[in-house]
Symmetry: C2
Subunit: 446 residues, 2 copies
């Protein structure tokens, strides 16, 4: 039986999971693939730690350069994470004619547009299913399963840490800081949680989804990004009373004329979703990606967005896809028989503009702190009316101990620019505090 020879960079959590599948699941993989996938080499700086695996027959090294240039390796799996040296290693592997598979969303979001042409030039493939949605085969579903569709929207709960925190805040009525601390103690959140809780990780993933959905180039730096750190237990309760649950969503939509996509809307922010929607049920560290298309209507893909075993499952699925088109007779590998990495043939991917933040249209949840005196609400609503912003709901809670009381407002659709103009006038009112919480609402999730 022919085989594909794999070299692994990084034996951390995911790397160990990938090694585990390749070692323990060898027979099953061969039965599905008709070829063997053989782990030939693995590089990690720390080779002393016991990973509970039998690495006999596997070349272990502390020098990743040995793996990315080795003659006896067909495919390199990068599981180091971060921008560098991951980029250099992957680029070197591609330059040496090796296929590459990675779970590194930061790498693809920031450097994908350098790596894709390099791979094309060298006639090799790049797989990165594990970079978005962990174990969920959501990129495959979008790229291949929904390939007949003009994609109309992509919504995703893409960060398990944020979803874990929001779920726990809701279930326990607890405040953000307390839950974060608990999540850190349990290992669900990093000591420095910025990357997750401020939405950067979600933005990485969303920028990949958006480019794949609309045939555009990845523009990670242009994603409008807000995190979850300003949300209070009261906001979650207020949203629930109005029939919504708060999730950190990545959202991408196309804009254009006559069916041509001209601009791409990309945003990541805490979002109110209807409590009975499929998306609202995605709890704890689960992830989900909704893809809606002009023919398929709504589809949703749900599963574990992180973790050793689920993420490794997606990495090995990529390896198997690539292995299928590998030549068994020494001829060139037929990567043209794979779906293009980004869902469109490389020459058809456009350098589309990102929709300006001011032009984003959505519905809003506003939390204003106002002095509990007659006329304040009238002044606020009059400013909103000036800006043609209509209200769907409003609630004002009494709080005896404080000077100010929170007023919650749900607006109908308006543009971000118009809303911000109204808000700047509203906070100019003497009876309204500076600090306004702006969340957004999506009724169109499945």
């Amino acid at each position: 039986m022919t085989e594909i020879r794999v070299g692994l960079l990084g034996l951390g959590t995911i790397g160990t999971g990938v090694a585990r599948i390749l070692i323990e699941q060898q027979v099953l993989i061969s039965r599905r693939l008709g070829k063997n996938v053989r782990l030939v080499a693995a590089a990690d700086r720390d080779l002393s730690r016991d990973r509970g695996l039998d690495f006999s027959g596997v070349r272990l090294t502390d020098d990743a350069n040995d793996v990315v240039t080795a003659d006896d390796i067909d495919l390199v799996v990068e599981l180091i994470g971060g921008y560098e040296p991951a980029r250099t290693f992957v680029a070197t592997a591609l330059e040496h004619g090796k296929h590459a598979v990675t779970a590194n969303k930061a790498l693809i979001a920031k450097h994908g547009e350098e790596l894709f042409p390099l791979a094309a030039e060298k006639g090799v493939a790049i797989g990165f299913e594990a970079a978005v949605g962990g174990g969920i085969p959501c990129l495959k579903a979008l790229r291949e399963g929904c390939a007949a569709n003009a994609v109309q929207s992509v919504y995703g709960i893409l960060n398990g840490t944020c979803n874990f925190i929001l779920t726990k805040m809701e279930n326990e009525g607890a405040d953000y800081a307390d839950v974060l601390k608990e999540a850190q103690e349990l290992g669900y959140a990093e000591a420095d949680p910025t990357f997750d809780v401020e939405g950067i990780d979600t933005s990485h993933k969303l920028s990949i989804l958006a480019a794949m959905a609309f045939g555009s180039k990845i523009r990670f730096d242009e994603v409008f990004t807000e995190g979850i750190s300003k949300i209070t237990a009261d906001d979650i309760e207020s949203a629930a009373e109005l029939g919504y649950r708060i999730k950190l969503l990545g959202i991408a939509k196309p804009h254009g004329t006559n069916g041509n996509v001209e601009r791409v809307e990309m945003r990541v922010h805490p979002t109110l979703v209807p409590v009975h929607s499929q998306m609202a049920q995605v709890s704890d560290s689960y992830n989900a990606v909704q893809v809606s298309g002009d023919f398929v209507e709504h589809t949703m893909y749900f599963g574990r967005g992180a973790g050793e075993r689920p993420t490794a499952s997606a990495v090995v699925a990529d390896i198997m896809d690539i292995a299928r088109v590998c030549s068994s007779d020494g001829g060139p590998d037929e990567v043209k028989h794979l779906a293009p990495a980004m869902g469109f043939v490389e020459s058809e991917r456009r350098d589309l503009e990102t929709l300006a933040v001011a032009d984003i249209e959505c519905e809003y949840y506003l939390r204003l702190m106002v002095q509990d005196q007659p006329g304040v609400i009238a002044s606020v609503t009059s400013i909103l009316a000036d800006h043609r912003i209509s209200l769907e709901a409003m609630s004002q809670k009494e709080r005896s101990e404080a000077n100010s009381v929170p007023v919650i407002m749900l607006t109908h659709e308006t543009s971000e620019g118009n809303l911000q103009a109204a808000i700047s006038r509203i906070v100019g009112l003497q009876a309204v505090e500076e600090d306004v919480l702006i969340l957004r609402k999506e009724s169109a999730v499945a």
Copy 2:
């Protein structure tokens, strides 16, 4: 640009949808595929009806034989449905060296095991993504996305008609017969609804999923199948009070030793699922498939299980997958570069036994009609205890107007054989009516 030439059998609902995509979405498909997909011919007995499409350049015929044997067609799409003449047409197309794509679950469930070897012999592919879950790319997710996993279970809401009826019964507290009548008037259910409401359609789909999950042959005739026609509004209410929702589920699980699958459990029946589960939220005519694997854990795929546009989306995705491996220079098509139709290479698919019905283990929901007199419940529970069946919950509702009152019982896990033995003793009690409703419960859905 190279092209793949498609011939269509059947211009009914789905066929029209496929033609619509191929005509209207031509540019998008080429940008994703790097090839053109051209609709060359379409056959239907009724060519007079206006389908609202511009068929210029398409050969329309009322003779399907012309299409399946034509020299200028690379791939035949069968959308006639049913066993015959669909089987003959698909077999003829394969024999003529043409790839085949179908949305016909009955065909694949009953005749797949004849068609797969024929396709392999001729070096052509068969695609049937649309046969299970309509527009949802669930077969691709199972076959390719979860390929690194030993699959531990598959659960599916696979029939939109049943899910529509159950959702409406729950929302409106209405009885089965009334909702069925309404569904028929709305076109959501056939005049003869047997195929859907008695679970046969779900069995077709489940048998395909099971064989793909476990590397076994399709054994549609051996699926344990019960429909939804005996469920009452009271059952739905009782289940809700206990924290469950009733869904018609297809369930498949592997049985064996040392990781080897030796027997396959397949069953289709109304099932109580926890009300907060993802599966319980799948409402109306939506479908969902849950695949759980030893590495990926739980995944779920959700979307429209039927309808012109969603089903056509899946058909065209199959066409595009096959088009990718089609030779552009007159050489042989490289179907070995596609994932095997059934997820395992054909020679590795085993003729596994189906788990005997008596050996199925699950939790049960029982509705007994008993005379409202002292000692009856004690007699019933004593029989259950004899059979080592323990109760999770029990509720007895008063009904003034009737002689008998319904008693609802939830049991812990036991085998079907053991339960049936206990039930036959219970209905032997003088105070218990013959007619016992047995539903099943699954707590492991995501």
